[in-house]
């Protein structure tokens, strides 16, 4: 049975695409046939983060309009088996994203035997974001420990509960997961940053993981390989834990407690 997972946030720049890329890669690494779709029509970026920007020929809108087949548009990931990328259109306007068209593409992916479809939502609460969450079975709400991001996450949760097919048809509601990124345990300890517990208490959504602020995220996007590939990176380990929890494994949260730098590190600096 295919599951559709929407990665959303309301606010821009919090790590939706970074999360979509690593989440889809993590599922594929576990052996699940996975597709990741960029819904940000006009501002596509998932292709860059996945490192397949030079192989884009057709896109989601081409498939919706019947100008290309789904098989022609899907790009096989070069880092990882079982993983395909469906890029967004860079040129069309976002109204080209028709609900029936999206439904058709998702149905065809289901028919092709995909286990998971990860939908990378655009920022905002407009048409593109609504299209990305309409058919969701599960939603990963990406939030930064910062007031505007938390408020926008609450807005998008409201929209999820109002506009998803599952809600409209009165089926079992979309399963929500809270994913906190750019977390800095030192600043939380100092009382300068909302803690993950605070955010969870405010949003009342079960937490799937906390990704620490990490320099590796930028390095990963520079190279076009999702950060989950960077061995030894805290961010990669955090995303691997997130995949494990998503698949039902018990994993205690890591990288949420402040570790005092050792004397050597304090003397000689370093990362």
């Amino acid at each position: 049975m295919t599951r559709i997972i929407t990665v959303t946030s309301g606010k821009g720049g919090v790590g939706k695409t970074t999360t979509s890329a690593s989440f889809a890669t993590g599922l594929a690494q576990r052996g699940f046939k996975t597709a990741v779709i960029d819904f940000d029509v006009g501002l596509r970026n998932l292709d860059l983060i996945m490192g397949c920007e030079r192989r884009v020929v057709y896109d989601l809108i081409n498939v919706i309009n019947g100008e290309a087949t789904l098989t022609q548009a899907l790009i096989k990931d070069k880092h990882c088996d079982n993983l395909w990328v469906l890029p967004a259109s860079q040129t069309r306007d976002k109204d080209a994203l028709k609900e029936e068209g999206v439904e058709k593409v998702l149905a065809e992916l289901t028919h092709q035997g995909f286990d998971y479809i990860v939908c990378d939502s655009p920022a905002g609460i407009e048409h593109g974001a609504v299209m990305a969450l309409t058919f969701a079975d599960e939603a990963v709400v990406v939030t930064n420990p910062e007031v505007s991001s938390v408020r926008d996450s609450d807005r998008i949760l409201g929209i999820l509960q109002a506009k998803s097919r599952r809600s409209i048809e009165g089926r079992e509601p979309v399963k929500e997961h809270l994913l906190i990124t750019r977390y800095n345990p030192g600043r939380v300890e100092a009382g300068e940053m909302l803690s993950y517990k605070d955010i969870q208490e405010i949003l009342r959504v079960p937490i799937i993981g906390v990704v620490p602020e990490s320099e590796d995220v930028l390095q990963a996007s520079n190279q076009g390989a999702p950060v989950i590939h960077q061995k030894e990176s805290d961010a990669a380990l955090a995303y691997q834990d997130i995949i494990a929890r998503f698949l039902g494994e018990e994993k205690p949260l890591r990288f949420v407690d402040y570790v005092k730098p050792g004397i050597l590190k304090r003397l000689f600096g370093g990362k």
């Binding site: 408020r151 609450d154 807005r155 300068e192 909302l194 803690s195 605070d198 405010i202």
Partner: protein, 84 residues
Amino acid sequence: MSLLSMLFGNKPKTAQVAKERLQLIIAHERDGGGNADFLPDLQRELIAVISKYVKVNPDDIRVSLEKQDRYEVLEVNIVLPEKP
């Protein structure tokens, strides 16, 4: 934060301030604080109905939604024209 202010605890940590502000605004917005989208439509339709019977200016009808503790008060204020 200096040792003195830590000792006397006179300044709340900003994360705590953030949490309290968020709890307030989100509770308000979930409660439908941001949900009064129907007011402009209501105002337009009221003007249309009343105009059928009395000649009024669109500016003479005011609709507002106010929150008083646990109640919401919908106030409609219509100024009728003076008899010529």
